[in-house]
């Protein structure tokens, strides 16, 4: 049952083969068993969760259902959920109980889904390994010595370890796709503006975008049907017709033009990861796709541009955490300035402070033009690269991350090495484009561990349905997405051809 697709679970619930309470309880007991090791969840509230499950069962009994009614979904702890502790992975909000619901939470509630708990994450979504969380790191279910990626590390581990039916994540520079790659499941970052940011705690407003993290492209499509849609409370939310993201899943891929940017296969890519991606491309050729060599010449600038713009926005977005109205306030202080300084010094972790400092610096008088304004100009060039590329192809493919999951502690003291984890994902955030990561095989790590590898699919604006189709067709002829880790026991044996 824990491996069942959302569609199968929905059918079982509606046919009353299982109740939402039973399904929820089975996930809760699995969480109880594995979460103490994996640490995927920051907040669990059995009573609240089961109340929702009971309500879902009542809806099912009355026939008033949606495809997700009664299904337990894990929510990244970045979404405010009324009555739930909402921490964003920070000591600053360690005791913050949200008094209102984020748009995404409202959408799942309206669909009758069950909130299973709040998942662990890098503090304020700043990190690529989940190691900046105030609530401790998260273990990669494929190898407990390794990180799950970040910032949506808790949701990633929960999906991979089957500690939820599906989860939500947010992606500012790769925070859905990189962990999806490192943990071996399907994750989608939609076009900027497709999912409302209302109630989603802001990191970098012009880049943040919520999306689904699930076992398959089909599951992601069902999640998108709930999450996407215009919301007048978010001025950057796009006013578009409601769409059914499952509508194109079954279309054949004959004639699909896949662009392979040479910059995604250059220095810095782990050779074994590269091999897996090549294998996936070969599979697409078999499905009738054509391969086009393309170039995204400004890819190399995406990391420096991102590490100017994202911290700039973050430095301002995080100013509200001042200890005045809510959140952490220092025990003792001499005056107002002292209260600010101590509260923020104590409440924020090192990575958050680093980014606030970078952001404050690049926005300062005298530096603004050289950094912030210049970065905005390059951001437009990066977006233009994609406009040119999509004249030649329908989707762009490449790796989602440069390597498989790395060991906990390995990159903690080397922020630049950590930042390079997002080299292939960041440019799509800067351009506002949709991107996804799909399990494409396994690679052997330095210590012989067999670890998942994700194929990234980048689509044109609002092409999510087509990307899901491209991923779904691949998942019909491969079973990488169906592989599950043994949670602490030796993992599956690598197939001969990949050794």
């Amino acid at each position: 049952m824990i491996n069942s697709s959302l569609k199968q679970l929905g059918e079982m619930l509606q046919a009353k083969k299982i109740s939402s309470v039973e399904l929820t309880q089975s996930f809760l007991s699995r969480i109880q068993q594995y979460n103490p090791d994996i640490n995927a969840y920051i907040a669990l509230d059995e009573a609240k969760t089961l109340t929702q499950a009971k309500a879902a069962d009542a809806l099912i009994a009355s026939g008033d259902t949606t495809p997700l009614t009664g299904i337990p979904i894990a929510q990244k702890d970045i979404f405010c959920a009324k009555g739930w502790k909402t921490t964003c992975g920070s000591k600053m909000l360690a005791n913050f109980i949200a008094p209102y619901d984020a748009h995404v939470i409202t959408q799942f509630d309206a669909a009758g889904a069950v909130n299973l708990g709040k998942t662990n994450m890098d503090e304020f979504a700043m990190g690529s390994s989940n190691e900046t969380s105030y609530f401790g790191g998260v273990k990669n279910p494929w190898d407990f010595k390794r990180v799950p990626g970040g910032s949506s590390g808790g949701s990633a581990a929960a999906v991979a370890a089957r500690l939820c039916a599906a989860a939500t994540g947010t992606d500012t520079g790769g925070s859905i796709r990189q962990p999806a790659s490192l943990c071996g499941f399907t994750g989608l970052k939609p076009t900027y503006g497709v999912v409302s940011r209302y109630g989603m705690i802001a990191f970098a407003s012009s880049l943040d975008q919520a999306g689904p993290m699930a076992k398959s492209a089909e599951d992601c499509a069902l999640m998108m049907n709930v999450m996407a849609g215009f919301d007048e409370r978010d001025s950057t939310s796009l006013q578009r017709e409601k769409e059914d993201y499952t509508r194109d899943l079954h279309k054949p891929l004959q004639g699909l033009k896949i662009g392979l940017p040479k910059e995604f296969f250059a220095e810095g890519l782990d050779a074994n990861v590269g091999k897996v991606i090549e294998g996936a491309i070969a599979e697409y050729k078999k499905l009738g796709a054509e391969i086009v060599d393309i170039s995204l010449p400004n890819t190399g600038l995406s990391i420096p541009v991102y590490y100017v713009l994202a911290p700039a926005e973050a430095s301002s977005n995080l100013s509200r955490y001042d200890g005045v109205r809510y959140g952490h306030r220092a025990e003792s202080y001499t005056d107002l300035m002292d209260m600010y300084c101590k509260s923020r010094a104590e409440g924020f972790g090192a990575e958050v402070k680093r980014r606030i400092l970078i952001g404050t610096y690049v926005l300062s008088a005298g530096y603004y033009d050289a950094y912030y304004l210049k970065a905005q100009q390059i951001r437009r060039l990066i977006a233009q690269d994609f406009v040119e590329a999509f004249k030649q192809c329908d989707v762009i493919m490449g790796p989602a991350a440069p390597s498989t999951a790395f060991k906990a502690g390995e990159k903690v003291d080397d922020p630049v090495a950590m930042y390079l984890q997002d080299i292939y994902t960041i440019s799509t955030n800067l351009a506002g484009l949709p991107g996804m990561s799909v399990p494409a095989g396994f690679s052997t790590g330095s210590d012989g561990k067999v670890l998942p590898v994700g194929l990234q699919i980048i689509g044109n604006y609002f092409d999510e349905a087509r990307m899901l189709n491209v991923a779904h067709q691949y998942q019909q002829v491969t079973d990488w997405h169906a592989q599950i880790p043994n949670l602490g026991k030796p993992n599956l044996v690598l197939p001969e051809e990949l050794k």
Binding site: F79, C80, T86, C88, L93, F96, A98, P99, Y100, A102, R197, Y198, G199, M200, I201, A202, A204, S205, S206, E232, R233, D234, S235, T236, A312, E313, S315, S316, L318, S319, R320, Y321, D322, V324, R325, Y326, L336, Y340, T360, L363, S364, A365, Y368, Y372
Partner: protein
């Protein structure tokens, strides 16, 4: 050396919208603290601003009223600084691209002593939309309402600062002039004109006590005849025209004395103390914040189309200048009268209503500017709160016109009307002020007067004009003031020439 003072104004006008500029919370003045602070006002994690279209319409209205350029695209920026009553840690304001560009306001500077009244054009640099901050309440508030158990130290009135976020997010239009004013009189004339204009077009209630109209005055001095501007000091938050005059006069003297003593002026923000009549530096430029302005990524650029402008224009009231011209043409009023009647929209409306109720225009103008204004000034009331309505005034004036009462009698009636709610005719009746216009009665009465005063008739015949007036006086006295003086004149003349 002769000095010249150079003054520019920044005025914060609170816009008369139903809700805050970026949220749906009410902006009503005087509510219990924090009862009008929604999740956006408190700046909870995850909330987002949505621009209030009403505020934009107010800005367009103002732009149209001063013939300004209205930007087709303007941008909201974040002004970053920490203060307890600034919940987000930044204020959303317009910085590089304001919604209203260059415009102009013509002011009338009243005569002072031998200097005659004159007109002057004050150039407006820009007007931009922004949000107000909340209020810090330093002690002195109701401690009964605080839950003392929550605080470690005993709470006293002195050691406690409360934050009231009711005002946070109130829409403001900040109107900035060029340094075009050369005296306190010009500055006050501009401020009064602006104060009337924003009320006239209905974008601000003009209530200075409640902070709806606040002026910051930039003052500098320079030797007369030099072109270069002196270093300015900014007098913050003047909330009455009287204080404005006092503050400018004090500040000008202070700066001139400082320079004449061989000193220099440091750029600074100063506060005016109404008790001492002095200005005092609050902070110098060295301590000034670097606000790290950057475009707010949560808000799209504000676009104003020709159609938007046309829609606002269609709902614009007639502006004072146009109305003044119309009063001259339509009612034959003098330029002075028309100008005086259009100093406020309420006054103009009252005048028009009086005329429309059947009173003669010139007489209405005289009464509105004379008796009514005198009463209002004496009692510190506005025309909108006049106890004598326009229809009552018209009725009264009609009774003068139809010879029911004399002008003097009308003044007595007016006194009664002012203090009691009562009908005009009823007052005339009760006071017995009705004029005798019955020609038979008047003739008989004059016969009596002539018979009783043969000496006066002789004097009149000997060419003494005064004797005629004395006879009129006798006749009026005999009628107890009720005879129509014009009729008395006529009958007396006829009888004297006949005798």
């Amino acid at each position: 050396m002769e000095w010249e003072v150079v003054i520019g104004l920044e005025t914060h006008t609170q816009l008369q919208t139903n809700t805050k500029i970026f949220s749906g919370a009410s902006i009503k003045y005087g509510a219990e603290p924090n009862t009008q602070a929604c999740e956006v006002s408190i700046a909870l994690p995850g909330v987002l601003p949505v621009l209030n279209k009403e505020a934009v319409q107010c800005a367009i209205k103002f732009g149209l009223a001063i013939n300004a350029e209205i930007a087709p695209r303007s941008v909201f920026a974040r002004k970053n600084y920490f203060y307890p009553d600034l919940p987000k840690g930044y204020q959303i304001s317009q910085y590089e691209l304001p919604v209203v560009g260059k415009g102009a306001i013509t002011i009338q500077v009243p005569a002072v002593g031998k200097n005659p009244a004159y007109e002057k054009v004050i150039n407006i640099t820009r007007a931009h939309l922004e949000e107000d901050a909340g209020k810090s309440v330093h002690g002195g508030f109701d401690l009964e309402k605080l839950d003392e158990a929550k605080w470690d130290e005993p709470v006293t009135k002195g050691n406690f600062t409360g934050i009231d976020l009711n005002r946070a997010g109130t829409p403001l239009l900040e109107i900035v002039t060029e340094p075009d004013m050369r005296s306190a009189a010009e500055t006050v004339a501009y401020a009064k004109k602006l104060h009337e204009l924003v009320q006239w077009i209905g974008i601000c209630d003009g209530n200075m006590q409640e902070g709806s109209f606040r002026c910051d005055v930039n003052v500098s001095v320079r030797p007369k005849g030099t072109g270069k501007l002196g270093t300015r000091r900014e007098i913050k938050n003047l909330n009455s025209f009287k204080f404005m005059t006092q503050a400018i006069e004090y500040e000008t003297r202070w700066q001139i004395e400082a320079l004449e003593d061989g000193g220099t002026i440091q750029q600074a923000t100063v506060l005016f103390n109404p008790d001492t009549g002095e200005t005092r530096a609050m902070r110098s430029k060295e301590e000034a914040n670097d606000y790290r302005y950057f475009p707010d990524p949560d808000l799209l650029p504000l676009e104003v189309t020709e159609a938007d402008k046309a829609a606002v224009r269609a709902n614009m009231p007639e502006l004072p200048e146009a109305m003044k011209a119309r009063f001259e043409a339509e009612y034959g009023l003098s330029s002075y009268d028309a100008s005086a009647l259009t100093t406020s929209r309420d006054l103009a409306t009252y005048f028009v209503a009086t005329v429309n109720s059947g009173a003669e225009a010139k007489q209405s103008a005289n009464w509105v500017m004379g008796n009514i204004s005198a009463k209002l000034n004496a009692e510190d009331r506005t025309i909108a709160a006049s106890p004598v309505s326009a229809t009552q005034l018209a009725q009264l004036l009609k009774r003068i016109a139809d010879n029911t009462i004399s002008n003097n009698a009308a003044k007595q009636v007016f006194e009664v009307l002012w203090s009691r709610e009562i009908d005009v005719d009823e007052v005339i009746e009760k006071l017995g002020l009705k004029q005798v216009s019955d020609s038979g009665a008047i003739e008989a009465m004059i016969d009596e007067v002539l018979a009783a005063n043969p000496a006066m008739i002789e004097e009149f015949k000997a060419g003494k004009e005064k004797a005629f007036n004395a006879l009129v006086g006798q006749a009026m006295k005999a009628s107890k003031g009720k005879a129509n003086p014009a009729q008395v004149n006529e009958v007396l003349k006829r009888k004297l020439s006949a005798s």
